[in-house]
């Protein structure tokens, strides 16, 4: 069953790559969703391995968190876009020390 874990790792790494490489905020958020989803996969796989349903429960929670995250994240993106007229993350430097 290790294949599932390897797949989850690959998908997670792809998500990381997306977060780090893309400039579009929306795509970054999507990459985050990929990472979350890949962790879901790993959880289900592990749960099936062990033979109980706790992993399923976690996945359910995870999906709920993802939904919440998407809602708030998208709302923030809309605001940022409204204010800055761009969604290129390289142009958001107001946190510069």
């Amino acid at each position: 069953m290790n294949e599932y874990f390897i797949l989850a790792s690959i998908l997670f790494a792809l998500g990381v790559t997306g977060v780090l490489m893309r400039r579009n905020l929306l795509v970054i958020l999507m990459s985050v969703e990929i990472m979350l989803a890949s962790s879901n996969l790993a959880l289900i796989a592990a749960s099936s391995h062990v033979g109980n349903l706790h992993g399923h429960i976690f996945v359910l929670f995870n999906i709920a968190v993802a939904a919440a995250e998407a809602a708030v994240g998208l709302a923030l993106i809309v605001i940022i876009y409204k204010n800055k007229k761009t969604e290129n993350v390289d142009q958001f430097t107001s946190l510069h020390g």
């Binding site: 989850a8 998908l11 990929i34 879901n40 919440a68 998407a70 709302a75 969604e87």
Partner: protein, 161 residues
């Protein structure tokens, strides 16, 4: 049979994930994400997690993705596309590090001698959810509420504008 199915499906998953991160146009990215999530649902089915698979399709693909596409539309990004990718050697290296590290960890994880594929029975899940996990369940529902309110408040037109 199952093995072949798994490899095909996982190949599809990787391709769709790659398509998400490589597509120039966010709309295509979003659509690829839909595909990715569908493929993942199939993987869940392979793991006999039927309920989760359905939830995945309903919540993720149905609700979240619609939100994404909707936002993309609102922002009218189609005209001016941002440069797709800036090569960041460090980022690639980091992602590779992550992947190899996770491989390593999983390779060290002891495989179970008698893997029992347990069916994700909906009644059992329900029982667990409302007995042992009732508090997190309630907290999660609260979280969703807060997220909803937060999203609304964030995009509300303020009085001063």
């Amino acid at each position: 049979m199952e093995h072949i199915l798994f490899y095909v499906i996982s190949g599809l998953a990787i391709i769709s994930a790659l398509s998400v991160i490589l597509n120039k146009n966010p709309v295509y990215s979003a659509l690829s994400l839909v595909g990715f999530l569908f493929v993942q649902a199939i993987l869940f089915v392979l793991l006999k997690a039927y309920f989760i698979a359905i939830v995945q399709v309903l919540v993720y693909t149905g609700a979240i993705m619609v939100l994404f596409v909707y936002v993309v539309m609102v922002m009218k990004l189609n005209e001016e596309l941002l440069p797709r990718i800036r090569l960041r050697p460090f980022s690639l290296f980091l992602a590779g590090l992550f992947a190899s590290y996770l491989f390593y960890i999983f390779s060290k994880t002891p495989t179970f001698s008698h893997p029992v594929l347990k069916t994700g029975d909906i009644s059992e899940i329900g029982e667990l959810l409302f007995s042992k996990y009732v508090l997190p369940f309630e907290v999660i529902s609260l979280l969703l509420l807060v997220a909803m309110v937060g999203a609304v408040v964030l995009n509300r037109k303020s009085k001063h504008e």
